[in-house]
């Protein structure tokens, strides 16, 4: 039960500015996801919240208290490490009981400890492994022990660093729904770090996208997916990643058009910047694979982009079509029944509403959305 505020937090590793003026406000009982590629500073951010990594400047507040200089054992947080960080000399049971017995926390009787450990072990399906050593477990089992070691406690906040990354697909999905379930009944704040956008969208109340130590955007899954603040945010959400085509934005008769390879497409809604007075300028046009239609014949619409089929892969219940448009590839999701042959000419079209416009220089989203 805690809100966590990171105020202007900086962290350097030698010359590397790992965390750059980080501002985050995590609400009480929120499932907050930090999404980013490896090296973005996600783990560092989490470790600073836990107190095991010192902050170079700025402050961290929990429930309004400045905990920046507090040692980790004083902060009421539990953490799941990506490397599991299990205690190799202790059995699984002792690993999970460790946080209940360590330190200055409220003393529990042996039977209370056992009860708590068994309950969590059952939940995670590791109750038959309690007497083993971590070295005798598979990667997925170890990860569940690491998760269990955090869950036995009732901390103010859970900090989870890629807790599902090493699980195989089946357990991964199972654990994902377990986590969602847990979050309902635990009533604790959860800060969850992942590089998997699917996990982020499925689990998070809000998502922060971190890139090179800077926050790109914070928002609900809907906001960040449908209204990405920058091109980087758009590209980090979705599989296949969003297609980005170079274009030019221009104004004609008070209407805004975007021109892609000489073909104009009317832009819906307001766009920052261009007016009749300003000269046309470079933009990046982002369009998701599922919003593009590919047809063999030119459609009757005014806008269709010609291209050549590069490859068409049928993946079970969907097809992934790669089309060469000018110098680059565009990914299109098709139905599995559609057939395309390589080098065939196709025409791509999409609805103006599905399109995102990003500034060619800064990558900022140029469309203002009423969110």
């Amino acid at each position: 039960m805690a809100n966590i505020v990171l105020d202007n937090v900086d962290k350097y590793y030698g010359d590397l500015h790992a965390i750059d003026h980080l501002q985050l406000q995590i609400r009480d009982r929120e499932f907050f996801v930090i999404l980013g590629a490896s090296g973005a500073g996600k783990t560092t951010t989490l470790k600073m919240m836990a107190g095991v990594e010192p902050v170079d400047s700025g402050s961290i507040f929990m429930d309004g208290q400045d905990v920046t200089r507090w040692p980790p054992e004083r902060r009421e947080v539990a953490m799941v490490f990506e490397s599991y960080a299990l205690y190799g000399h202790l059995s699984v049971y002792k690993n999970m009981a460790f946080p209940l017995l360590a330190g200055r926390r409220k003393r529990l009787t042996a039977s209370e400890v056992e009860q708590k450990v068994r309950r969590v072990a059952q939940l995670l399906g590791i109750d038959m492994l309690l007497q083993r050593r971590p070295a005798e477990l598979s990667g997925g089992q170890r990860q569940r022990v690491a998760l269990g070691r955090a869950l036995v406690r009732e901390p103010a906040a859970f900090l989870m660093d890629e807790p599902l990354s090493h699980l195989d697909a089946k357990i991964h999905h199972q654990m994902r729904s377990e986590l969602r379930q847990l979050r309902e009944c635990m009533g604790s704040t959860i800060v969850y770090v992942t590089h998997d956008y699917g996990e982020a969208l499925a689990l998070g109340d809000r998502i922060a996208i971190l890139h090179e130590g800077k926050i790109m955007q914070v928002g609900t899954p809907g906001e960040v997916f449908h209204h990405p603040a920058t091109r980087l945010v758009a590209e980090s959400l979705g599989d296949p990643p969003m297609n980005v085509l170079p274009g030019r934005i221009c104004c004609q008769d008070g209407r805004t058009f975007v021109e892609i390879q000489g073909q104009p497409l009317r832009v819906s809604g307001a766009v920052e910047g261009p007016s009749a007075a300003t000269p046309p300028r470079q933009v990046d046009v982002g369009i998701r694979a599922q919003h593009i239609r590919a047809t063999q014949a030119p459609s009757s619409r005014p806008f269709h982009l010609p291209g050549q089929v590069y490859v068409h892969e049928v993946l079970g219940d969907e097809g992934l079509l790669t089309v060469t448009v000018g110098p680059q590839h565009v990914m299109v999701l098709t139905s599995p029944e559609e057939r395309f042959t390589p080098d065939e000419r196709v025409y791509l079209s999409w609805e103006a509403e599905a399109m995102h416009l990003f500034c060619g220089q800064t990558g900022k989203n140029l469309q203002s959305h009423s969110v």
Partner: protein, 286 residues
Amino acid sequence: MKDGTGKLRSAVRVVGLGLYFAFAMAPIVWILMMSFKNPGDVIATPPKFIFSPTLDNYKAITVGLESYSSESLRPDFPKYFLNTLIIASATVAVSLVLGTFAAYSLARFSFPMKEDIAFTFLSFRFAPELMVILPLYVIFQKCHLIDSFAGLTLAYQLVTLPFLIWVLRGFFEEIPKEIEQAARVDGCTWWGVFCRISLPLVKPGIAAVVILSFIFAWNNFIFAMILGGERTQPITLGILGFIGYERVLWGQMAAATIICAVPELVLAFVIQKYIIRGLTFGAVKG
């Protein structure tokens, strides 16, 4: 074809290892045989491999034997043995306490001149003992430490402490930092982490350095010779006593050597399983 070369290779390996084994074991077997020979058999040429064994040598050095000269009636050997045991144990105990903390600090904390300090410790190991023995002698004399157990224990730190620090530092560095961080988050203080996580995890390393330090201390000669005396004389010097003015008591010397080796062997067997676990230490990391 491939099978043939494989067999050949393993045959060469077996022969090579056999030769090395024979080379390494020959002196030990020879000493062992010598310790059961009577004086005549020891110096016989050509050497005798078949002889009637006797326990006289062992009796002479432990409880004393009438037939030898009067001095061996009250043998000094048990006293030397006890001296060595006291000095070696004390040395290892002191080194272990000091060295574990030093190694942990060097592995985990950052402070100014850290590497220089670590290197200074190491440099004690490659400075020849003879180089430091004279200044040490003068200092010990001023401090009245000559021929005292405390003094020898102190001097032996030069041998065991740097070794212990460097080996244990490596073991502490092996422990992933995140394990210690996890323990901090789980509610342990710095000291709690050290006692409950780090120390148990390096147990195999501690076992290995304890036995090796013990052997170093047990076998030390030069410090004991210069800084020791009648009261504290260890076996290494005591064995020299078998070389007398008119004769060399080869048989007794051999028996003393064999008895000397027993504690080291026992220790090695007791701690062996930890050393083997030390080799598989990596498997614990997750």
